[in-house]
Symmetry: C2
Subunit: 423 residues, 2 copies
């Protein structure tokens, strides 16, 4: 049988071999055999097929374990590209990644998500095409997109997103698949930040983790057994509108009263900061108001770091309120770690220390026994890395293989790679 032909019943083992080398679990044919349980001839044939596909390559001779030294194998991450896109409310981050998720080209642009899907996606696609044109031609094998709202993951459509006017139900997946001819996965931005954050932290891949973003709004990404918990309507992690008080004077931008965001979100802190500035209670914020014409959430964070008492009180209240919410989540989910990111969390030690104190005081001892509460390390890069990780994880599954195998003739009874059985 010619090695450049892949039959359907070889797909599973071919993908196994590629993934073991890609993820660094095996670097030689004997190791592949040991780990996969596949016979020597099957391993040899699959490796040849992967080499023909341009996904593996032979390298140096490795250390001998008694007999002939086995040849090292490596994954050809440069074979193709993934595109990772993260929409924020007022910016978009774009990266072209190799198959190992190393960024080859990247760009961050100001962009208002409220411009709607048509102009937003056209804007992003033209930037992607520009980035792709800057290096030798490589096929795009997958696209990952994050948006700041709930997403029906199975279809790649935003679902009633509160701060994305015009996007409700828009088929983002199909738009990118027809533009780039590559499988596309769309997810909520905080879910992707969670994936990216814990990818970077190199935690146990099957573990339970929690990521919370405290910026203008507040959202959480729940990792359960290594997978994002997205919920039945893609609304999981939408903690910003949990009712935390019955006080009727706490009005949220969503129209409800008593939401977490209306007490602890950056926009609510900025609203109160503006009042303090107007009332002459904070010189720092009065200066900021004069400089920018408004008080932004980052002004509160920076003010707290600069020692302004009003800002520090606001950050402290936010940390305590977020901490109480997190204590509940820690009791329910018992994560190994909680990573805290976003512009308010980046106020520094004050916010995190209040969060820590509150969580440890109000959670069960067992749930906090080994708990680590850490600042986000990845910052804004987490979402883009997460989008790439999401794509890589999906594309290298056996059932996705047809999307990236360059098939010559879909009408054949077997799947040919490049050439037929007779070639």
């Amino acid at each position: 049988m010619h090695t450049s032909t892949v039959f359907p019943d070889q797909i599973q083992t071919l993908v196994t071999v590629i993934n073991l080398v890609r993820t660094g679990q095996a670097t030689t044919r004997p190791e592949l055999g040991q780990i996969s349980g596949l016979g020597r001839s099957v391993v040899a044939q699959r490796v040849e097929q992967a080499i023909h596909l341009g996904l593996l390559q032979n390298g140096e001779l490795g250390p001998s374990t008694g007999g002939r030294s086995p040849r090292q194998l490596s994954f050809t991450a440069d074979r193709a590209r993934f595109v990772a896109i993260e929409f924020g409310v007022l910016h978009v981050g774009i990266a072209v990644l190799d198959l190992d998720l190393n960024p080859r080209m990247q760009s961050v642009q100001e962009w208002d998500i409220a411009s709607g899907p048509d102009s937003s996606l056209e804007f992003v696609a033209s930037i992607v095409e520009g980035l792709l044109a800057e290096e030798p031609v490589r096929p795009v094998w997958g696209v990952g997109v994050g948006v700041p709202g709930p997403v029906e993951f199975s279809t790649g459509r935003p679902t009633a997103p509160p701060i994305m006017p015009g996007w409700d139900g828009f088929d983002i997946r199909r738009w990118f698949e027809s533009r780039f001819g590559a499988p596309t996965f769309v997810d909520n931005d905080v879910n992707l930040m969670a994936i990216g954050e814990f990818e970077a932290l190199e935690v146990d891949h099957a573990s339970d983790q929690l990521f919370v973003k405290v910026g203008s709004g507040i959202g959480a990404g729940v990792i359960s057994g290594g997978n994002v918990h997205r919920g039945s309507n893609g609304a999981a992690g939408d903690v910003g509108h949990i009712a935390i008080t019955d006080r009727s004077d706490i009005v949220c931008r969503c129209g409800q009263i008593g939401c977490l965001e209306a007490v602890a979100g950056g926009w609510a802190l900025a609203r109160e900061g503006a009042i303090a500035a107007a009332e002459g209670r904070s010189d720092y914020l009065a200066d900021a108001l004069e400089t920018h014409g408004e008080i932004r959430p980052t002004d509160i964070a920076q003010g707290a770091r600069a020692g302004d008492a009003v800002c520090a009180a606001l950050i402290s209240r936010s940390g305590r309120t977020v901490g109480e919410m997190l204590a509940t989540l820690v009791n329910v989910l018992n994560p190994a770690s909680v990573a805290v990111g976003g512009s308010i969390a980046e106020a520094g030690d004050l916010f995190l220390s209040v969060v820590r104190e509150t969580v440890y005081r109000r959670s069960l001892p067992l749930a906090t026994r080994d708990l680590r509460i850490v600042p986000s390390r990845m910052g804004h890069g987490a979402g883009v890395l997460g989008a790439g990780r999401l794509v890589a994880e999906r594309v290298f599954r056996p059932e996705s293989m047809t999307s990236w195998l360059p098939l010559t003739s879909p009408r054949r009874a077997f799947w040919a790679v490049y050439g037929s059985r007779a070639s």
Copy 2:
């Protein structure tokens, strides 16, 4: 190659074939080929091996799809037994199940978990042996055990369980494995109830679900993508001690103040019911106190159903408090459904209607758009069924095959089923 020999690289495909028939996804050899992507000769050989193992059997000729009618295959659920055990605080449920989880023998006994592990496990094992002796001899291929406390799932040991004195760190898994020679899995009782409940509800197996038990204590089982979310220390779902108030007069049996259980748990309701009985505010409870010498949580539930105003007010308050906690969980987890069980929830429509009203009022519209809040259908049987499902799901994985394949000689270079290559 003789079909009664299974080589390591055949395990994966053999288990695939067995599982496709076992779960009803395929009933003929051609269907097995279509679904698995395996070639005809591989399917034929694996089916013969499974028949030799006593796990599949040939049946009637099925409907023809053009050519010769294919022979129906069925799974031999009677081949072996699973043992399912669910410890409550004051009872233990035991079932001997066939491989399709049909109960063959069962028993429910009063038993105080505070007796400690040695006498408890000896008590249960002797009952299991009695049940097994009542029918023709079958090997035990797996044991599932539920206990009312947090469990480190990977080792099968309770972790600091508050109401199981003497059990902390006890190796339940090893105890059963040495007694019955079968792989044993230990989990928290509410996790197993969640598995059993949603197994019985036949929901989408990859879905997100939530089970909450409101009995003497309060616990939740979180299903994420079809899998139990157990948490880093096995403490996930331990919602009974979430701090819901700062009121210092609400003292919990755990020693903390303001816990959910201390307001809404059956033991707290019973405590208040006893005061009402003593103060002459409830004839119903005064009668119950005289009859039983104490007020039990079930007295409050039955009193509410009988129209007693004090009991109804307690059940209503419990429903509202549990509903507020569930509203937070619904926002965070966005489950497809919430099933509510336990002796307090079984008070009937009152409890559930208050829970529903509270959750719908305090959760995000998107998270409740398709949400179903339903009473538990399985009642006490959920935990035992869940223990069986847990075992079946684990035992029929390729990596578990060696635990139930009757190997003749572990020293051979290949795994023989019954006979060697030469036989």
